[in-house]
């Protein structure tokens, strides 16, 4: 594709997951001889499996203990990853740049204090009085800071407070669609000249019973023992939540060049749609999006980082979509990165974009995780990566990440 000053460059990556923190820890997953294995906790929330966050020293990105105390897990993870991305991009601590950095966050529900909820439920147990909650229980059980952990936009709010990102601040919601809306919003604003510099991403804390409850009400969770994403279909499917914080600094090429920032990659486009999800509709929606985004690409091997969650029937629809790419003359070489890191829901697409940017800049790719024929070997190194996002309930989207021309890649 033609390159322009309004190309969207990835100039910073902040990643923290079950497999470690930072660019190098995650780039190592893409090295030729790498044989990464998922890190799992199958006991704490049995029968559910989660990918717990790797141990991190919060004070490296959130120096004030008072700030740490004002947040719950999902916010700490996100603020930490945001700090990594800003540092990586050379923006951290530069007021002139932070003052016009737009913050675009994908967020889900905030976090509840499950022990408070447990106390309340036990006090209510078997008592009929409907006035009890107001009269006796809730006013003493709740505390002010909890509320701020529950507001979706308070991940963004905490990033502003801790890292001084103040250009603008928008939080998108809607499970996987939140991630799509966030990435698409930042990319389109850059291309159209509505902004130059953005911090985009989200976070998920998988080690939360309240989060598990929300998804189990819809029977969306995989009940152990662990299997890779593509190998869950026979047992009904389901996702394994993975703790992750994923942020990218996206920047107009001209802006990056002017300040001497080097790109990992460029985002050639993000496209999205919503189908009603009758049989075949998500697959068809994906193919339409693919034709609009990738129709002009050479018919050859196409590295794909699939955001498949393992939830059925949509993961089956994505298999069908990948078959359709073959019918179009492509040879998709697929890796479901959720098999390794778990499903990050709102943060999953940003995680995929970060891995794709690293794949393109380092010339490596994830090893196959099994369960799908299309997880075969990639010849050579990836010059571009397609990232898929089929929401577990709604929303279909694709992003194309390519090597950034012109600039000296990192």
């Amino acid at each position: 594709m033609r390159e322009t000053p309004r190309d969207v460059w990835v100039t910073g990556i902040g990643l923290v997951s079950s497999l470690g923190e930072g660019v190098e820890a995650h780039a190592a997953l893409l090295a030729p001889a790498a044989e990464p294995a998922p890190v799992l906790d199958e006991a704490a929330f049995a029968p559910y499996v989660v990918h717990p966050l790797a141990p991190i020293d919060l004070s490296k990105q959130i120096p004030k203990k008072s700030d740490q105390r004002q947040m719950e897990g999902w916010q700490r993870i996100g603020v930490y990853a945001a700090g990594l991305a800003l540092t990586d991009a050379g923006i951290a601590g530069k007021p002139e740049l932070l003052d016009r950095t737009g913050l675009v966050v994908a967020a889900g529900s905030g976090e509840r204090d499950t022990s408070v909820d447990r106390t309340v439920l036990e006090k209510l147990d078997g008592r009929e009085d409907t006035g009890l909650l107001a009269k006796e229980i809730l006013p003493s059980a709740l505390r002010p800071t909890l509320f701020l952990a529950q507001l979706s936009n308070l991940l963004a709010g905490n990033i502003s407070v801790v890292h001084n990102v103040t250009g603008s601040s928008r939080t998108f919601m809607g499970e996987e669609m939140a991630g799509l809306a966030a990435a698409e919003n930042a990319v389109r604003r850059i291309v159209a000249g509505q902004g130059e510099l953005f911090l985009v991403g989200g976070s998920l804390n998988s080690e939360r019973e309240d989060l598990l409850l929300g998804y189990e009400l819809g029977r969306n969770l995989w009940r152990g023992p662990f299997r890779p994403v593509w190998a869950r279909r026979q047992a009904g499917g389901g996702f394994v939540p993975g703790s992750v914080g994923a942020f990218l600094v996206l920047e107009a090429r001209a802006h990056a060049e002017a300040r001497g920032a080097r790109p990992y990659a460029r985002i050639a486009g993000v496209v999205s749609d919503r189908s009603n999800r009758a049989t075949g509709e998500a697959r068809a929606s994906g193919l339409r999006l693919f034709q609009s985004l990738c129709g002009a690409l050479p018919r050859a091997q196409l590295p794909v980082l699939s955001g498949a969650s393992g939830v059925e029937p949509v993961t089956g629809e994505e298999r069908g979509f990948l078959d359709d790419l073959r019918a179009e003359g492509f040879d998709p070489v697929v890796r479901a990165y959720g098999s390794l890191l778990g499903h990050g829901v709102e943060a999953h697409l940003a995680t995929g974009l970060a891995l794709a940017a690293l794949a393109v800049s380092r010339g490596g790719f994830l090893p196959p995780s099994g369960g799908l024929d299309a997880e075969h070997r990639l010849d050579g190194s990836p010059g571009r990566v397609l990232v898929t996002s089929f929401g577990h309930w709604r929303g279909e989207g694709l992003a194309l990440v390519e090597a950034a021309g012109g600039g000296e890649a990192r």
Binding site: G110, L121, L133, L148, L151, N158, S160, S169, L212, L213
Partner: protein
């Protein structure tokens, strides 16, 4: 073929061709505007749940829509549907179930409430499991599709997208109490980019449930002046003591000027400019020097390409909290200077309370009605002016005025600040 109409920055002009509104004053623009300009209050005692023992027992609840047993998502969706239906009827755009553009929805975070949590708990009566282990066991034991569907974050937008046939990914946004303005900004930007010729922008919020009320109360954000309820919200008064939680929805149909003209649509006004700025001072308080609020207002005026002295009415955020009203005044003074002294400003929240995620959209609808009708609604309950906030707050009764250009402010927790400039064509 004539050249497309552009603004003074060379961008497509974004106009409003339909609006709709629901608040505690009632359903639809007629009822709302009649009561709003008559200085009527929609604030009342809460009857939805027992309030005995609570410090605040009043709110601007929306009780005119029948949604069966109350749940926040059910009412959030119903209000948004009603507002959007009214806006679409006025704009007469697309066809039934097919709107030719995207949906931008400002909506509060969705979460299970105590009635649902308690229901799950009781499904496992006698179970030895405790806490969430027991709730999860209930979730595993039987299907709860209705709960799942309602309390997914994507749910409200999904209902609206299906009903109105909007295009593409339905977008849900939260910038706390600035969300409604942000939804409008998203629509404006999409049309300016040429990504869409029309957009359906909605803000909706029905957060008057027990836990949410207690949370705001614990933050000392709410008025405790319960009796009589209609006197509690008193923006810019010396004795203001907090905001009053309220519910509502506002919907706007945005269109590129040329598309609207081409199909002969009546144009209600122009969204001339949008501005935003994030605050890094504190999670719930703004910078003492007002820089972030000033930034948002300045950015909106600059984006609109107007001079500060062209603003002839301000639809204030005006929550009636000690902090907000003071900071809003200081920031307006910094941007408008002496022009502020001559500019009427009023707070709809004196009558409808604070509709939270919906406020920016609801108040944009009322701002456009001020432009169309040449009437500025009052700030009621202004009996005891705050001498530190010397402004023309249009006390108690509405006023006729030629209103061409309105500044509408929305500020929220998490350092969210957004302002809109709405104008006559």
């Amino acid at each position: 073929m004539t050249r497309e109409m552009r603004d003074n920055k060379g961008r497509r002009v974004v106009v409003v061709t339909g609006t709709g509104v629901v608040t505690s004053l009632g359903l639809g623009k007629n009822e709302n505007w009649t009561k709003l300009t008559a200085g009527r209050s929609g604030i009342r005692r809460i009857t939805r749940f027992p309030t005995e023992g609570l410090r605040t027992v009043i709110a601007g609840t929306v009780d005119c829509l029948d949604v069966g047993p109350y749940s926040a998502p059910a009412l959030t969706i119903a209000m948004a549907m009603a507002a959007a239906q009214e806006a679409l009827g006025e704009a007469a755009i697309g066809s039934a179930g097919s709107f030719p553009g995207p949906l931008y929805l400002a909506t509060p975070p969705a979460e299970l409430e105590w009635p649902q949590r308690r229901l799950l708990w009781e499904e496992r009566a006698g179970d030895e499991l405790t806490g969430y282990k027991r709730l999860l066991a209930a979730a595993r034991a039987s299907r709860h599709e209705e709960l799942e569907e309602k309390f997914q974050f994507a749910s409200a937008a999904e209902h609206l997208a299906r009903r109105f046939g909007t295009r593409g990914l339905p977008v849900s946004v939260s910038t706390a109490c600035a969300s409604g303005a942000t939804a409008i900004q998203l629509g404006v930007e999409a049309i300016r980019r040429g990504d869409a010729d029309a957009a359906l922008c909605i803000g909706t919020d029905s957060s008057v449930q027990l836990e949410a009320l207690i949370r705001f109360s614990l933050l000392s954000a709410l008025s405790t002046r319960n009796d009589p309820p209609e006197l509690a919200s008193r923006p810019f008064s010396k004795d203001r003591d907090g905001f009053v939680m309220a519910e509502g929805a506002g919907a706007l149909i945005l269109e590129a000027y040329d598309s609207a003209r081409a199909r002969g649509a009546a144009i209600l006004g122009v969204v001339k400019g949008c501005g935003e700025k994030a605050d890094d001072f504190h999670r719930t308080r703004s910078r003492p020097d007002g820089t972030a609020i000033i930034g948002a207002i300045r950015n909106a005026i600059e984006d609109a390409g107007v001079r500060p002295d062209e603003i002839d009415y301000i639809n204030a955020h005006g929550t009636s909290t000690p902090e907000n009203d003071k900071m809003e005044y200081l920031s307006l003074k910094a941007v408008l200077g002496d022009h502020l002294d001559k500019t009427p400003i009023s707070s709809n929240k004196s009558m409808i309370g604070h509709t939270l995620s919906a406020a920016g959209a609801v108040e944009a609808v009322f701002s456009l009605l001020s432009i169309s009708n040449g009437v500025v609604p009052p700030t009621i309950n202004y009996r005891n002016p705050d001498p530190d906030i010397p402004m023309d707050v249009v006390p108690d009764t509405s006023r006729s005025a030629s209103v061409r250009t309105v500044l509408s402010n929305s500020f929220g927790f998490g350092g969210q600040n957004a302002s809109l400039v709405l104008a006559a064509l």
